[in-house]
Subunit: 514 residues, 2 copies
C-alpha cells in the first residue's frame, strides 16, 4: 500500500488532468478484436462468382460518354450505355488499388490511415435540416455548418471534419461547395471530405486542396475523400463519374458506393443483395484504375433495408448488420479498404428508437472491421437532419466503440491479480493502489449518460439525454480554439473563393427563406 | 411474371396473415453466427490458471455451516469460513454438469433448450418500481406483475415468463414468492423462474412445480430456474446457498452468478476481473455437484462497471462487452451452459441513453453466444424500474437479434440471382415475384420504430418511442388470451398457497403505501 501523502498527491494530479479539457484526437483505430465473418471460404467464393457473372452477363450501365469511351479503350465490351466485363479484366484492374491509404491532414499530428486493421470515424454529411442548440428542426446555415466542424474538431474519436455535415441553405447552391470546403479546412485541422456534386465542383475542391497542401504534395499524398453513389441496380451516372475522374486524376481517393435500398433496388435476399452490390462496387473500383492506375480508392456502399409496408428505408436491422459483415469479408478478399455507414436511424426525434438504431449499427460496424466509418455522428431521420445533441453523443459512443475494438488489455494482468490476493474474500478494491493507478483507463465512463440514482438525477434537474448533450455542445463551443492556419494560405483560399464566385453564376438558393 | 389475378389473390392472403395477431413463440434460438472470441488458447489458459490459483491460494468464503460441512466431507480444505480448492477437484466436480439443458414448459410446444448453440431470451426481474401504462414510475402491484407475465407470454422472442419482473408491493413480503410463482404459472405457459429469496421460499416454489408438473416428472426434467448471486469478491452467503441446495436436490438448475461491479469489487482490469469472476462461478458450480452430482447448473454472472466519479454502476460499456466475450469463451471451455444479462441501462427515462445502452448490451450478448439471456426486456434505471414501454421494444429488438444470430439465409440465393437478371440495370424489384414471395422473411421490420417521413409521422400524431410502445402494450393486453390450465391443478396450486399463507407469519410489507 502506498502512503496517504503520496496517494493524495497522485490523486490531485489525476484530478487536475481530469478537469483540464481534453479534446486530443485519438490516433487511427488499430483494431485487435476478431471480426465477425459469417461466410466460409466456399460461400465467399459463391458471392464473388455471382458478382463476376453479373458483371459479365448482365453488365453495368455507365450513363456517361467519357466513361464509355474509357471502357472501350480499356478493352471492355460496350453496347449502348451498357458495359460487360471480363472477370479477369476486373481482377487485373482492382489489383492496382493500394490496400492502405494514409490521409495527410494539414496538422501532420492528425494524419490517419485506413486499410488492414486501421479504421477512422467520420461525421455524417448531407443533412438538409439541422436540429439546433434549442433542439429545433430548421434549415441550416453556414454558421451551423461551422458549429459542426468545430464539434468534429473537438471530438476525440472523430478523425475527420467531413464536408457538408448540414447543407448551408443561406448560400446559393452553385457556390456552396466552395464555402463548405473552406469551413472544413478552416475550423478543423483534421482530414476532411470533398464535394462531388459535379465534376466542376470537384475540381474546385481539389484546387483548394492544392492551395492548402501544395500541388506537388497533393499528387503524392491522399488529403481528401470524395464519395460517388451508384444508382442501384447496376447504374453509374455522369455527375458521379465526372467527380470521380476529377479526384482520380489528382490521385485522391473516392468511395465507390452502390446505394442499396434492400428489397427495392436489390433482390429480397441478403446474399443476392450483396452479390449485386459487390458487382456494382467492383465496376466503379475498376474504373478508378482505368482513369489512373494505382490511384487509391475505397470500396463503398450505403445500406438500408426497405419497409415493404411503407416503402421507408430502415436502419439497424439485422440484415444490414449481416450485409456489413459480408461486405467486410469481400473487401478483405479483394484487399481494398472499405467504407460503411455508422449510427444510422430513422427516428424523427433523438429518442429511444434513435439510440437503439444507432448503437445497433455501431456494433455491427465494429464487428465488421470497416475502415472508413462514415456518418459516425449526428445522423437522424434517415439522414434528413443532423442533430447537434446526437452529434456529441454519437461521438462519445464512437470513443467507447474504439475501446471495444482495441480488445483486451493484458499489460497489468499480473499486478491486477496481485490485488485479488491483497483484497481477498469480502473486501473492496476502491482504495487499492492498483485501482487508483488504473481505473481511468480500465473502464470507459461515458460523460453524457447519467448513471446516478434517481434522487441525485432529480436534484440535478431531471435532464434527459438531449438536455445533457446540448449542454455539452455549448461547453465545447465555449472551449473551442481555432487551429492555426497560415495567413497566406488562408488569403489564397479566400481569393480562390472570391474568384470562383465571380465566375460561377449564382443560381438561386434551393429555399427562399434565406 | 405471375398474372395480375394470381398476384392479387396471393397478396390478399399475405395481408390476412399479416393482420391476424401473431404471438407464437419463436423456437429456441439456434445460433449460426460465428462468435466473438478475443482470447487465443494461451490467453484462455492464463485466465483458467489464474482462477485456479485464486481458488487454491486465496480461497472462497462460504458463509453457511451446511456448505462448509459439505465441502469438508467432499475433501476440500476448510479454514474457518474459507474453503481452499484443489484445481483437479474443481475440474472433476464441474465435469458432471450437463452441457445442455432442456426446459420443460407446461405447454410442451414451448419447451426450450440452453447449451451448445441453443439460447433463450428471458425478461428482466427484480424491479422495485414500475413505469406503467401512463409511463408513471410508482410501486408495482400483483396486477402489474400479471401484465408483465401476459406481455412475456405474447412476445415471440421471450422464451420464459421469468418470476418477479416487478416486486408486487401490495403483498406481504413473506407470502410474495407464492403469489409471484402462481402468476408466472397462470398467465403464461412458457418456462419460468423460481424465487431464491431463502431456502424455505425455494422449497415452496419447487413444491408448486411438483403440483404443476408432477413430483416424478420434476425429478427427471428441468422445469424452473433459480438464481444465486455471489457477494464478490469471493463470498457466497447462506441465503443463496440454501436456495441453491433446494433447487439442486430437486434436480433443478441454478444460475451461479458472481455479482461484478468492475473496479469496486474486482480489480480495475478486464482480464483480472474475469479471472476472479471465473473463480467465483467455478466454486459455486462445483458446489452444485457436491449437493447432487449430475444436477444441471448454469455459469452465471451479473456484470457492470463502476463510475469512479460517482460510484454508480454503468451498462453498455466496452469493457462489459469484452467481459461477455471472454466469459463465453471460458464457459465453452468448461462445456457448461452460461447466462448473461441483456438490454441493461442506467437511464431514469426511456430515452436515447436507454436505447444506446440496451442495444449495445444486446449486440455484445449475441456475439458472445450466451445461452440463458436474462433481463432481456424492460430493464431501466439500473434495474430499479421495469418499464412497460421498454418491455415491448426490447422484446422486438430481441426478435431482431434472433434473426441476426441465425446468420445468412442461402436457400433462395439462386432464385434471387435470377431476379437480378430479370430486372437488369436501372430497374426496381418491388413487383418481382421473388420479392413478393420473400420480402417478409428477407428483411426484419420493427413495428415499434417509425421510419416514415416527418410529414407522415406528424400527421399520425408525432408519437415518440414511448407513445408507440404503450399503444402496443394496450393492444397486446386487449388481445391476450389466458393459456388453459387444468382446473384441478389450478385448484391444487391455490390450496397450496392458502395453506402456506396460513402457516407463514405475514411479515409487514416493505412499503406502507399498500
Amino acid at each position: 500500500m502506498t502512503t496517504r501523502r503520496r496517494s493524495r498527491s497522485a490523486r490531485a494530479t489525476r484530478r487536475a488532468q481530469r478537469t483540464r479539457p481534453r479534446h486530443d484526437m485519438l490516433p487511427t483505430l488499430v483494431g485487435k478484436l476478431p471480426l465477425c465473418e459469417p461466410m466460409d471460404a466456399e460461400q465467399l467464393h459463391r458471392i464473388d462468382a455471382a458478382s463476376m457473372d453479373i458483371l459479365q452477363e448482365v453488365g453495368v450501365v455507365f450513363r456517361d460518354p467519357v466513361a464509355l469511351q474509357d471502357w472501350q479503350q480499356a478493352g471492355a465490351r460496350v453496347e449502348g450505355e451498357r458495359v460487360y466485363f471480363d472477370a479477369a479484366h476486373i481482377r487485373e484492374l482492382i489489383a492496382s488499388i493500394p490496400s492502405e491509404i494514409t490521409y495527410h491532414a494539414r496538422n501532420p499530428d492528425k494524419n490517419v490511415s485506413v486499410g488492414g486493421r486501421n479504421s477512422i470515424f467520420v461525421p455524417m454529411t448531407g443533412a438538409p435540416y439541422v436540429c439546433d442548440l434549442e433542439n429545433k428542426r430548421r434549415l441550416p446555415t453556414l454558421d451551423d455548418l461551422a458549429i459542426f466542424h468545430k464539434l468534429a474538431q473537438m471530438s476525440p474519436a472523430m478523425h475527420s471534419s467531413a464536408h457538408h455535415i448540414v447543407e448551408p441553405m443561406d448560400h446559393v447552391i452553385s457556390h456552396r461547395h466552395l464555402r463548405i470546403t473552406y469551413s472544413s479546412m478552416k475550423h478543423s485541422d483534421k482530414t476532411f471530405m470533398g464535394m462531388t456534386t459535379s465534376g466542376k465542383n470537384a475540381e474546385d475542391v481539389l484546387d483548394m486542396c492544392a492551395i492548402l497542401f501544395g500541388a506537388d504534395f497533393l499528387e503524392q499524398h491522399a488529403v481528401v475523400t470524395g464519395n460517388c453513389n451508384g444508382n442501384s441496380p447496376l447504374v453509374w451516372d455522369e455527375t458521379m463519374l465526372s467527380a470521380m475522374r476529377a479526384f482520380n486524376r489528382r490521385n485522391q481517393p473516392v468511395l465507390c458506393s452502390p446505394f442499396v435500398l434492400g428489397g427495392a433496388n436489390t433482390p429480397s435476399s441478403v446474399p443476392a443483395a450483396v452479390a449485386q452490390l459487390n458487382a456494382e462496387a467492383l465496376s466503379a473500383l475498376a474504373y478508378t484504375q482505368v482513369v489512373r492506375k494505382g490511384c487509391p480508392a475505397i470500396y463503398g456502399h450505403y445500406l438500408s433495408t426497405v419497409s415493404m409496408q411503407s416503402g421507408a428505408p430502415m436502419a439497424g436491422t439485422p440484415e444490414i448488420s449481416l450485409m456489413n459483415f459480408m461486405i467486410g469479408q469481400m473487401a478483405r478478399h479483394y484487399n481494398i479498404p472499405w467504407r460503411t455507414s455508422n449510427t444510422l436511424g430513422g427516428s424523427k426525434l433523438f429518442d429511444a428508437q434513435s439510440g437503439y438504431e444507432s448503437a445497433t449499427t455501431l456494433a455491427a460496424v465494429i464487428h465488421s472491421g470497416a475502415h472508413y466509418i462514415w456518418h459516425s455522428a449526428g445522423w437522424n431521420e434517415a439522414g434528413m437532419h443532423c442533430s447537434m445533441a446526437k452529434f456529441v453523443v454519437d461521438a462519445e459512443q464512437c470513443a467507447a466503440a474504439y475501446r471495444l475494438a482495441e480488445g483486451i488489455k493484458w499489460d497489468d494482468f499480473g499486478d491486477a491479480l496481485a490485488a485479488v490476493r491483497d483484497i481477498g474474500p469480502g473486501g473492496h478494491y476502491l482504495g487499492h493502489p492498483h485501482t487508483l493507478a488504473h481505473f481511468e483507463n480500465a473502464f470507459f465512463m461515458p460523460k453524457l449518460f447519467d448513471n446516478n440514482s434517481i434522487e441525485q438525477w432529480s436534484a440535478e434537474g431531471s435532464l434527459d439525454t438531449v438536455d445533457r448533450a446540448l449542454n455539452q455542445v455549448r461547453k465545447l463551443l465555449d472551449e473551442y480554439v481555432e487551429p492555426t492556419l497560415d495567413p497566406a494560405v488562408d488569403e489564397a483560399l479566400r481569393d480562390y473563393i472570391d474568384r470562383r464566385e465571380a465566375e460561377i453564376p449564382a443560381m438561386e438558393a434551393l429555399n427562399q427563406e434565406y
